[in-house]
């Protein structure tokens, strides 16, 4: 009985984190983006500096009519948002935020593989949406999503493999237990490649060609309204949380910090994740959208060679220190 309670409690906590953190990131994006553009951002909802803007948005989305285009493939069209969103919830289960056993939803032996595999599934949602909408723009969006995923999955996997090599394990808590501060400079190239590839996989600006709102009208999500559209948006922000959390765990040492590693480890994890999330927003505000050919070129001629070089470096250092 205790076990059941324990599992239930963990799931509830993970679900709560899953519902809250993306909204926090979203609100931060509203405000940070506004100030970076010399604006104030939302100021009214909730009274104090528009803190409840996203809650208000959610209520608005829930009130909207749920429309399925006449020619669309009904079932798949309706299923797609769930396929896009659920994988991130699953990934969140495996990310450890503190050193103790109770600071992770579920320890998974092949953690890296689990996380990357499930994140890859999330993209299927966009593909399904793109195809099932019966809309040219959606189809173009779907095609671009697929092309982007194929190009950026590889550097992501390679750099994750580099960390796994360094730690000698593929379990996420295992990697963090093996972490030393000098991994930071050692794996810095891998970290950058991982983060950039992750951004591209999430289709965040400047890698948002698949949803380019000014040319293909939000790509795969053109036909979506109301709650289903909100789910897609939520998936994007959950993706940011997951990517930042993963980068923190794999490359930035998670709960390790200059002081207070015992007991306050989770603060370090959250702090690093928050800083990375700020970076995601910052990049979005600063850079224009990459063209499709530039996207592919960046992945195949820059990121993958860098990732391979990182693996070689990891291997050499690993052999040298043994």
């Amino acid at each position: 009985m205790n076990d059941v309670l324990d599992v239930a409690l963990r799931l509830v906590v993970v679900f709560a984190v899953f519902m809250v953190l993306p909204l926090v990131v979203g609100q931060t994006e509203h405000k940070v983006m506004a100030h970076m553009q010399g604006r104030l951002g939302p100021m009214y909802a909730g009274g104090f500096h528009g803190w409840a803007q996203l809650v208000a948005d959610g209520v608005k989305f829930a009130q909207k009519e749920d429309i399925v285009p006449a020619d669309a493939d009904r079932r798949i069209f309706q299923l797609a948002p769930a396929v896009a969103l659920l994988p991130y919830l699953l990934v969140l289960v495996a990310i450890p935020i503190g050193p103790s056993e109770s600071a992770v939803g579920q320890v998974i032996d092949a953690g890296i593989f689990f996380v990357l595999a499930v994140m890859g599934v999330g993209v299927l949602g966009s593909l399904m949406a793109g195809w099932a909408s019966a809309n040219k723009f959606s189809l173009l969006g779907g095609l671009r999503t697929a092309a982007q995923l194929l190009a950026y999955e590889l550097p992501m996997l390679l750099t994750a493999a580099s960390v796994a090599m360094a730690a000698g394990t593929v379990s996420l808590p295992g990697i963090l237990n093996a972490f030393e501060w000098w991994w930071l400079p050692w794996q810095i190239v891998g970290a950058i490649v991982f983060f950039v590839a992750g951004l591209a996989e999430l289709q965040r600006p400047p890698f948002d060609m698949p949803v380019a709102d000014s040319e293909i009208i939000f790509g795969a999500y053109t036909e979506y309204t109301g709650l289903r559209f909100a789910l897609f948006l939520l998936a994007e922000y959950a993706g940011i949380v997951v990517l930042c959390g993963l980068t923190t765990v794999l490359f930035l040492g998670g709960w390790h910090g200059p002081w207070g590693a015992d007991g306050l480890g989770w603060v370090w994890t959250l702090l690093k994740t928050a800083i990375l999330a700020f970076g995601v927003i910052w990049l979005r505000v600063t850079y224009p959208r990459l063209r499709e050919d530039q996207l592919q070129k960046l992945a195949w001629t820059v990121l993958i060679p860098l990732a391979l070089a990182q693996i070689a470096l990891t291997g050499i250092v690993k052999v040298a220190i043994q």
Binding site: D71, A72, D73, I76, I108, D109, A110, F113, F114, L116, A117, V118, G120, V121, V123, L124, L127, M128, G130, W131, A132, A134, L139, G142, L143, A146, A147, L149, L150, E153, L157, T169, V170, S171
Partner: protein, 186 residues
């Protein structure tokens, strides 16, 4: 002998929860696979393939082969199916039925499929029979055990496969490259 004894202790096909789950997931996977090859809606076939491959991953999990399960999801669901869908979208797959999504070779295909299935089932049954997985110590199929097996007992096949994949890669590049003759003609 010990395996047989273990089997006798546990009883062959004693319906534990895991076994029931294994069977149910197996049936679902089989059903998804059958729908994959019989449906006339191309993209639906690809999506049912996702279900079938995901079902297989769950089966691996139930057999404690955690590593294989996640790799299955990563490679097949995450990449192969995406590639398939990409191809289908490029070929203007219609929404609804494609009348030509049928093959005249269906009987030959069925024969091959049944033969392959029979061979696999026979080989697996013959190889393991009533063997039980020893759950004490590191689980069979965990990452460490799989890695040790792969790089101690099966290095040669592994490397041979790597060379095969490399050859395929080089071949693909050669095929997709424009030859100099083509350029001159233009």
């Amino acid at each position: 002998m010990s395996h047989l004894a273990a089997a006798a202790e546990q009883g062959f096909l004693s319906p534990t929860g895991v076994e029931i789950a294994f069977l149910l997931v197996g049936i679902a996977t089989l059903g998804a696979a059958v729908v994959t090859v019989t449906t006339k809606q191309l993209v639906h076939a690809a999506l049912w393939l996702v279900v079938a491959l995901g079902g297989l991953a769950v089966e691996y999990l139930l057999l404690t082969a955690e590593f294989i399960a996640w790799v299955q999801v990563l490679i097949y669901v995450g990449s192969v199916v995406v590639l398939l869908l990409f191809g289908l979208m490029l070929t203007k797959a219609p929404i609804g039925r494609s009348p030509d999504a049928d093959s005249g070779n269906r009987w030959a295909a069925l024969t091959v499929a049944v033969a392959a299935a029979a061979a696999l089932v026979w080989v697996v049954v013959d190889a393991f029979r009533t063997q039980w997985i020893d759950l004490d110590g590191p689980a069979q199929g965990s990452t460490r055990v799989t890695g040790e097996f792969l790089f101690q007992h099966w290095v040669l096949p592994f490397e041979a496969l790597s060379v095969l994949l490399l050859a395929a890669l080089v071949g693909a590049i050669v095929l997709s490259r424009k030859s100099d003759n083509d350029k001159e003609q233009r």
